[in-house]
């Protein structure tokens, strides 16, 4: 099998000597690549002819580590996949394990999960769109809206204690109920964030320079996108309204009213607009979720003694709770033998977990279907024939997160 160097040498051998292509190395440490991956571009002047990608600079062998860890210890690993929206990964993992174990969670837990996942989606799109602004030169948007990502971090801290890599929730629900401060802060967020986001949109959406740089750059058709396995906002920008939350609702998403925004041409501008509009829809969902959660009885976990850790007060007093606690931590739970695939709508697309269990406390095999890894393959096709500065803008609008790329 060829090595990287041999392959690039082979590429160069195909060059016609009368057209001297310039080889430009973009990465792995480059300010414009959000994360470390490498693109070796062949340029004809300033037009891009081909690109060759190298990924794996942050390969941390999650799938191998997961074969060693019990189910509840894999949650911190899933945090570090798409670390800009860690709660979505956590909840997706818990849903997968609950599907395998056959645990049915109460509605209120579903609504709490929806609220947390939509907050994470807002946080991820804040980063993606503001960094798209930064890559076109507009730093103001980033410094202004990043403040609101800090506010979302404060809400996470009230729920689980951590800011970025949240490790939120348990198999069967949450470790504690949402305290009143969570609702107070979310209400404040829902009141104060919309005018801020409207202002951010007014900076960029009808800005002549931004529009000139992003319209018709990195366009892809729906057929090519489906062939490349696109999902999420990148696919919706092409025109296909495929959203897992609407098509295959999980976690009681069918109880919520929201629209699925769709673009037309699949270029960078459409991806920007689709993500903007998704933030508005997510704010709608958070508001509905909060009303539902506050109006129901305070249940925050399923009645699954064999899999959900009992509260510590009971462990010290109650014999059964002590036994369950011991069994769960030591891994004597009865996990069924089987395999399950569950996917959630992550901020980048369909984030899937393929879990094969052999009855033990660790998975036999766990595979993450990572959207970034799959759609990043289309990048050379998307930038062919475009200018070098377009390459940066397209990469930024695809929202490639290195943790999810390499896993």
């Amino acid at each position: 099998m060829k090595t990287n160097q041999e392959f690039i040498a082979g590429l160069e051998a195909f060059e016609k000597p009368e057209i001297p292509y310039t080889t430009l190395n973009l990465g792995p440490t480059h300010p414009a690549t959000h994360g470390i991956f490498q693109n070796v571009l062949q340029l004809d002047g300033e037009r891009i002819v081909t690109g060759e990608q190298t990924v794996g600079y942050i390969h941390r062998a999650f799938e191998k580590i997961a074969e060693r860890r019990p189910f509840y210890q894999i949650t911190p690993l899933t945090d570090r996949l798409n670390y800009c929206s860690a709660p979505i990964n956590n909840m997706g993992w818990h849903l997968t394990v609950e599907k395998l174990l056959g645990i049915a969670v109460p509605k209120r837990v579903d609504y709490m999960r929806v609220m947390v996942m939509e907050l994470a989606r807002v946080a991820d799109h804040i980063i993606c769109n503001s960094i798209l602004g930064v890559d076109t030169g507009a730093l103001t948007g980033f410094t202004y809206v990043y403040q609101w990502r800090e506010f979302i971090y404060e809400i996470y801290e009230e729920i689980c204690g951590a800011r970025l890599t949240t490790n939120m929730g348990r198999v069967g629900g949450f470790e504690r109920d949402f305290n009143p401060i969570v609702f107070e802060k979310t209400r404040k967020f829902l009141k104060e964030f919309p005018p801020v986001w409207r202002e951010f949109e007014s900076l960029l959406t009808r800005n002549r320079i931004f529009m000139d740089r992003t319209i018709d750059t990195g366009a892809i058709t729906t057929e090519r996108a489906l062939n490349y396995g696109f999902t999420g906002p990148n696919l919706r920008a092409c025109g296909l309204d495929y959203d897992l939350r609407a098509v295959e609702p999980y976690c009681s998403y069918e109880d919520f009213q929201f629209d699925v925004p769709v673009g037309t041409t699949g270029d960078t501008y459409d991806r920007f607009l689709v993500r903007n509009e998704e933030i508005w829809q997510s704010l709608r969902i958070i508001e509905q979720a909060m009303l539902k959660i506050e109006s129901m009885d305070p249940i925050y976990h399923a009645d699954a003694d064999h899999y959900y850790l009992p509260p510590k007060q009971e462990v010290y007093r109650n014999m059964e709770a002590l036994i369950y606690h011991f069994k769960i931590i030591m891994g004597e739970i009865e996990a069924p033998v089987g395999e399950v695939y569950h996917a959630v709508e992550g901020a980048n697309g369909e984030l899937g977990y393929y879990l094969i269990s052999d009855g033990g406390r660790s998975p036999y095999r766990l595979h993450f279907r990572r959207p970034c890894f799959i759609y990043y393959q289309a990048y050379p096709e998307m930038v062919r024939g475009q200018l070098l500065s377009d390459a940066i803008v397209v990469m930024s609008s695809l929202n490639v997160i290195a943790g999810e790329l390499d896993a």
């Binding site: 099998m1 060829k2 090595t3 990287n4 392959f7 990924v55 794996g56 390969h59 062998a61 799938e63 191998k64 580590i65 074969e67 060693r68 599907k99 090519r224 489906l226 062939n227 490349y228 396995g229 495929y242 098509v247 295959e248 069924p336 089987g338 395999e339 399950v340 695939y341 996917a343 369909e350 899937g352 393929y354 094969i356 036999y364 095999r365 595979h367 279907r369 890894f373 799959i374 759609y375 990043y376 393959q377 289309a378 390499d406």
Partner: protein, 165 residues
Amino acid sequence: MTTEQIEQLLLNTTGQSHQLSLDGYGVMNLQLKVNQLFGVLLQLYKDPELEFHFLTDLCGIHYPDRKDEELCVVYHVHSMKLRTRLRLKVYVPIEKPEVPSVTGIYGSANWMERETYDFFGIQFVGHPNLRRILNMDEMEAFPLRKEFPLEDPMREDKADFHFGR
């Protein structure tokens, strides 16, 4: 779409009989032999009623205990028209792990097959560019096989004794 309908369709078009099974979680599973794989996938893609146009996932599994069937490649395909998912599995022996590549049908299979090769050593025949993707090029072993250790045995600062290993 029920399992019988898909089985009938595959029998009509490919001339071979296949056995689809429904597992406990409502997903249709199909096990294939290596030489049937490309034909069946192409048929599922081209058929106007089924339209399995989306390859969701492609991964490998290592079963060291199954003789002559140690490595498995799993394909998850999705039909957006019918809203069904289908799981296909192919088993190959570890001495000769050759599986036909499906990059001709699905463009997204390119990197997924490279990742499976990188982790398990499965040779995808017909792949345009089969080389390692996530690990270093110079690596010779295939890390996700069960016999490969998780920790680097040459590391100096972590004593296994203190970490319970």
